[in-house]
């Protein structure tokens, strides 16, 4: 498996400015989301997740990724979408955010796409139904809408939430 550990923040910043961007597309509650491929370490099958009591609600728990214990976030919960049982096609997308390795539970990973920058529009909550803070933009591709996620925001909020959740 890939052992990519280095991560250039420049990719993220210049991505919008460049001509096109390679993204990994995955599904959460029948919507298509995408993150820059440079952020994705690997995509693994769903495995047994250990619940950590007292963790923020969106944090499903932790898994053992080759000896490293990493947190796993459920994007459905993160986006406050209705929760659903995980299926056989559910996957954990392992990404690097803010120097941490975290796993994101998604309903399924469909493809890797090249998105033209000029096809990206600014986010609108009306289109997706999730908080526009998490979005970098929306790309239209072959009649589909693909939501580009702002991973840093996803994590920042999770951390914020866990501070509030601190109890015991």
């Amino acid at each position: 498996m890939s052992q990519t550990t280095t991560q250039t923040p420049a990719v993220h910043n210049s991505a919008l400015a460049g001509d096109d961007e390679q993204v990994v597309v995955f599904a959460v509650a029948n919507e298509h989301y995408a993150v820059n491929i440079a952020r994705v370490h690997e995509i693994i099958r769903l495995q047994q997740i250990t619940v950590i009591p007292g963790a923020p609600a969106c944090v499903e728990g932790v898994i053992n990724l080759r000896g490293k214990v990493i947190p796993v976030l459920d994007l459905r919960k993160r986006f406050r979408l209705h929760a659903e049982e995980h299926t056989r096609s559910s996957r954990i997308v392992v990404v690097e955010v803010g120097g941490q390795t975290i796993g994101l539970i998604v309903d399924g990973v469909s493809e890797v796409l090249r998105i033209q920058m000029d096809s990206i529009e600014p986010p609108s909550p009306l289109v997706t139904g999730i908080d526009s803070r998490y979005l970098r933009g929306i790309a239209k591709l072959d009649g589909r809408l693909i939501v580009l996620l702002d991973l840093d925001q996803v994590l920042t909020d999770a951390e914020q939430q866990q501070l509030e959740a601190a109890e015991l």
Binding site: T50, G54, V62, N64, L155
Partner: protein
């Protein structure tokens, strides 16, 4: 003059600096230990004195090589004192040891400058001056300033008050084998060494400039063998005003007192205060080399030659190759030369000592050392190889016995240039100091037949060709290393150690974790296949293979764990110094015994166990041991004994700190505890002696009758216990009044892997560190009591407050678990003095777990200290016992009158 905070640059790559740092640490550690030993054993142990000198010399060489001038200078000063000590010209005294130890403190700070990159402001001038004064037979200034920023415990105000044994005149009769470097030219020639002392007008503002002029002028008269201050210090402009300049002048033909005086006093502001001619040098102190050289002078010329002929059979030549990837080749070369000096007297080396000390040695080059064995019986090849095998990154190519050639000696003596070395002489001795001799001909099997030595043996002053020498050294070593090795008849003892980054081992550990997961999957697949296939052979193969992989991954994990271990010596090594300083300060006589230094433990534990041990040692010396008077009165030896020992017991490391002092008296502890309000008088009368002694671990307790500046720093035994428990260890005390005390620390071998009790709650597994577990028991519903609405059970006459783990973590138990509540378990846990019980659904068992941090997202999660990677790759939360118990305590407080005594508990249960 140097200034604090000035940025430093070193003449080395970052890798070299890292290596220098770690080797420097090692040398300093070694020196600290050996100097303490030297103080105890006196100057009788010649091997020890040699070892100390070598360590100082190596440190000087390597600090010079990276260009840390101040460090090199201070080590140089220390080295010259140590050189006298090993030649029994300076007695081992308290003042000497104090001075050397202070120098080590300063050197440590200088070493730290390498990482910090800025100057620490440590003043070395006074220390070097004091050392040099000592070497010159003077008493150092009584109020020698300690290096700044030293920990208070290391300062030693008592030192000045101690009677100072003035250096005795050196015994004249014995001249032990020298290990300073003398080239054959120097050795065989009539050597005349003059000692010239000059004073620079103390008003003159630039003494360094004048000092340099003195040295340069002396060079015009002959060869400057040594100067004080050293040449490097002079060139760095560090001569202080009023410092006398001393020059040892060799090879000064036809020189006279008048000529010297005339030449040197031409320099303004300079006055020659003393000139000691060679005849008289023998009795002069200062430059030790001079004396030995003078001895050889006595049988110079023909006599010297016949002397050489008599010792013909004892001259050996060693060739050793420095590894091509060696980062600091110069210190390695120096080590080779020093190794030879252990066996005999080094006649010549190539590269020369001076070149080596300048750091101009290339990796991959060959070091050739010719030396005269002082003891023919001891000078066998095996011994030499054994000594060299300890030097990392160096491979001995060969050792050859040579008959010194009289023609060569003749040639040298008459100053003729040597065109060819006779074939029988392998690597003919060269005046390495001066010769830009390219090692042109690759030696064949150690014989440099007809190797041309074009250089003329000129007197040894500074040469400008050293870089060339260094470059030339590369050619034979780099181009034909394999050839040379394959030609060696005996197998080469290559060094078998490598340094490795701990992070790399951690990465390895993680990969092994992955392997473990893979292995678990494999066996699960195997299990799933049962019944799905009829191919029994295939099934068997699969089972066999997965077992095989399981075994290998277990072994692999074990091996990596082991490679993270280091001997506890790394922790213990600094204690003799500490004990010495403490004993001196409280005026007690202490014999400090260290046992089990080789006991290995994980690096992470080693890093954190030092403080608790220091605390115990302090206690033993300050409170445990009596004063010499008290001991005499009690019929004991005046010298108290403190013993520190380490050993392995099962999967633990056990560290004992013993003393034969007054022991802990239970009555005193009780009285103190009552006085401090920790116990009621009533309770104190009821507790056993053993319990009373355990009170020393109670928070806020300290038995010192007077607050001493050693132990009375508000840090009590409770902190020691907390620190030990943080490492998942435990501490216990045994004591016998009048006989002494023994503190025993038990620690897991590693912090990364601990033994834990696995329990299950609401379908999830949790790990409880076994060190916190008192016991685990099965309970019935009717065993439960309610004390002010809190659950509790009675356990051996005491009330144990209980918590449901599921409630703490707000995990809803499903119907099945609720109904099964009649069958449950209690795990009694302990943190410090507090105990409580956790109600769990089932006990899974004990297991070794690998502890992993959970990361930022779980920073505020309470009650869980980390994640445990279990044997099957699953993660289990590890309970934070301290936090859980604090939670119980907090709950008790909020509920008001929560009383922990049996009567109320029983009443509550009946209500």
């Amino acid at each position: 003059m140097t200034m604090k905070g000035q940025p430093l640059t070193f003449d080395a790559t970052p890798e070299e600096l890292v290596l220098f740092m770690s080797e420097g640490e090692e040398q300093l550690e070694l020196l600290a230990q050996d100097i303490i030993r030297m103080e105890q054993e006196g100057d009788g142990n010649t091997e020890l004195l040699q070892e100390i000198f070598r360590a100082a010399h190596t440190l000087k060489g390597s600090s010079g090589a990276i260009g840390h001038q101040r460090m090199a200078r201070l080590t140089h000063a220390a080295e010259s004192v140590l050189d006298q000590v090993r030649h029994h010209q300076l007695p081992v005294s308290t003042i000497l040891v104090d001075l050397l130890l202070k120098s080590l403190d300063a050197l440590r700070q200088l070493l730290d400058e390498v990482t910090a990159g800025i100057e620490s402001g440590v003043a070395i001038e006074d220390l070097s001056a004091a050392l040099i004064a000592l070497a010159n037979g003077q008493q150092p200034a009584p109020d020698l300033p300690a290096a700044p920023d030293l920990p208070a415990s290391l300062e030693n105000p008592a030192a000045a008050a101690i009677a100072v044994p003035v250096a005795e005149p050196p015994p004249a009769e014995v001249v032990p084998p020298r290990s300073q470097f003398v080239s054959p030219a120097d050795f065989m020639r009539e050597l005349q060494v003059w000692r010239i002392e000059c004073a620079i007008d103390p008003q003159f503002p630039l003494p360094s400039a004048r000092a340099l002029q003195i040295v340069l002028a002396s060079e015009s008269l002959g060869a400057v063998a040594q100067s004080s201050p050293a040449r490097a210090a002079i060139e760095a402009g560090e001569v202080t005003m009023g410092t006398p300049v001393i020059v040892w002048l060799a090879l000064a033909e036809g020189i006279t007192n008048e000529r010297i005086r005339e030449r040197l006093e031409r320099i303004p502001d300079v006055q020659v205060t003393a000139i000691v001619p060679p005849e008289a040098t023998e009795s002069a102190t200062g430059y030790q080399g001079v004396q030995d050289l003078s001895v050889s002078t006595g049988r110079s010329g023909a006599a010297g030659r016949s002397g050489a002929a008599e010792e013909a059979a004892l001259i050996l030549t060693l060739r050793a190759q420095i590894a091509a990837d060696c980062v600091l080749p110069a210190p390695r070369a120096l080590q080779v030369v020093l190794a030879c000096s252990q066996i005999g007297e080094v006649l010549t080396s190539d590269p020369s000592d001076a070149v080596i000390e300048d750091g101009k040695v290339m990796a991959g080059s060959v070091v050739t050392v010719t030396f005269r064995a002082s003891d023919p019986a001891a000078a066998n090849e095996d011994r030499l190889r054994a000594i060299c095998a300890k030097i990392s990154e160096v491979t001995v190519i060969d050792v050859t016995l040579s008959t010194p050639d009289l023609d060569l000696a003749d040639a040298v003596a008459t100053g003729e240039s040597i065109r060819t070395a006779p074939a029988i002489v392998p690597a003919a001795p060269r005046a390495a100091d001066s010769v830009p001799a390219p090692r042109a001909a690759p030696p064949e099997g150690g014989r440099s037949a007809a190797s041309p030595v074009p250089g003329v043996l000129s007197p040894p002053p500074e040469t400008t060709v050293r870089p060339a020498v260094a470059e030339n050294n590369v050619s034979p070593g780099v181009t034909h290393p394999e050839n040379e090795q394959t030609r060696t008849a005996t197998p080469v003892q290559a060094p078998r150690m490598v340094r490795i980054d701990v992070e790399r081992l951690d990465a390895l550990m993680n990969l092994i974790g992955e392997l473990v997961i893979g292995r678990t999957r494999l066996s699960r697949i195997g299990a799933n296949l049962v019944g799905h296939t009829d191919d029994l052979q295939l099934m068997e193969d699969l089972t066999e293979t997965s077992r095989h992989i399981a075994r290998i991954s277990d072994d692999l994990q074990d091996q990596v764990m082991r490679s993270r271990m280091l001997p506890i010596e790394s922790v213990f090594s600094k204690f003799p110094r500490l004990v010495r300083d403490l004993a001196q300060r409280v005026n007690k006589k202490v014999e400090f015994i260290v046992e089990g230094k080789d006991t290995e433990l994980d690096r992470s534990v080693a890093e954190q166990i030092s403080d608790p041990i220091i605390h115990l040692l302090r206690n033993a010396i300050d409170h445990g041991l009596e004063t010499p008077e008290e001991r005499r009165a009690a019929g004991k030896s005046e010298v108290g004994q403190v013993r520190l020992s380490a050993r392995h017991e099962e999967n633990q490391i056990v560290i004992d700190v013993d003393d034969d002092g007054r022991g802990i008296i239970p009555e005193r502890i009780k009285a103190k505890a009552v006085a401090k309000g920790l116990l009621t008088a009533d309770a104190a009368s009821r507790i056993s002696d053993r319990e009373a002694v355990e009170m020393i671990f109670a928070p806020g307790f300290s038995t010192a009758e007077q607050v001493s500046d050693i132990s009375g720093r508000g840090v009590g035994m409770d902190i020691v216990r907390t620190n030990v428990e943080r490492l998942n260890g435990s501490i216990a005390v045994e004591t016998e009044p009048g006989q002494g005390s023994r503190f025993t620390i038990r620690l897991p071998l590693t912090l990364a892997i601990i033994r834990a009790l696995l329990v299950s709650v609401a379908g999830q597994t949790y790990a409880i560190p076994l060190t916190s577990v008192v016991e685990a028991l099965r309970i019935q519903q009717e065993d439960l009591r309610s004390v002010n609405h809190h659950l509790a059970i009675e356990l051996r006459g005491q009330v144990l407050p209980l918590m449901r783990l599921a409630d703490i973590f707000k995990q809803s138990h499903n119907a099945a678990t609720t109904t099964a509540m009649t069958r449950q378990f209690v795990v009694a846990i302990r943190w410090g003095d507090r105990r409580c019980g956790l109600i769990v659904e089932s006990l899974i068992g004990e297991q070794e777990i690998v502890i992993k941090p959970l990361g930022k997202l779980f920073r505020n999660v309470r009650g869980i200290s980390g994640g445990a990677v279990l044997g099957d790759g699953q993660v289990a939360p590890i309970l934070d016992v301290a936090a859980l118990i604090k939670y119980v305590i907090a709950n008790e407080r909020t509920s008001g009158e929560y009383e922990l005594n049996l009567e109320t508990a029983a009443k509550g249960a009946r209500v």
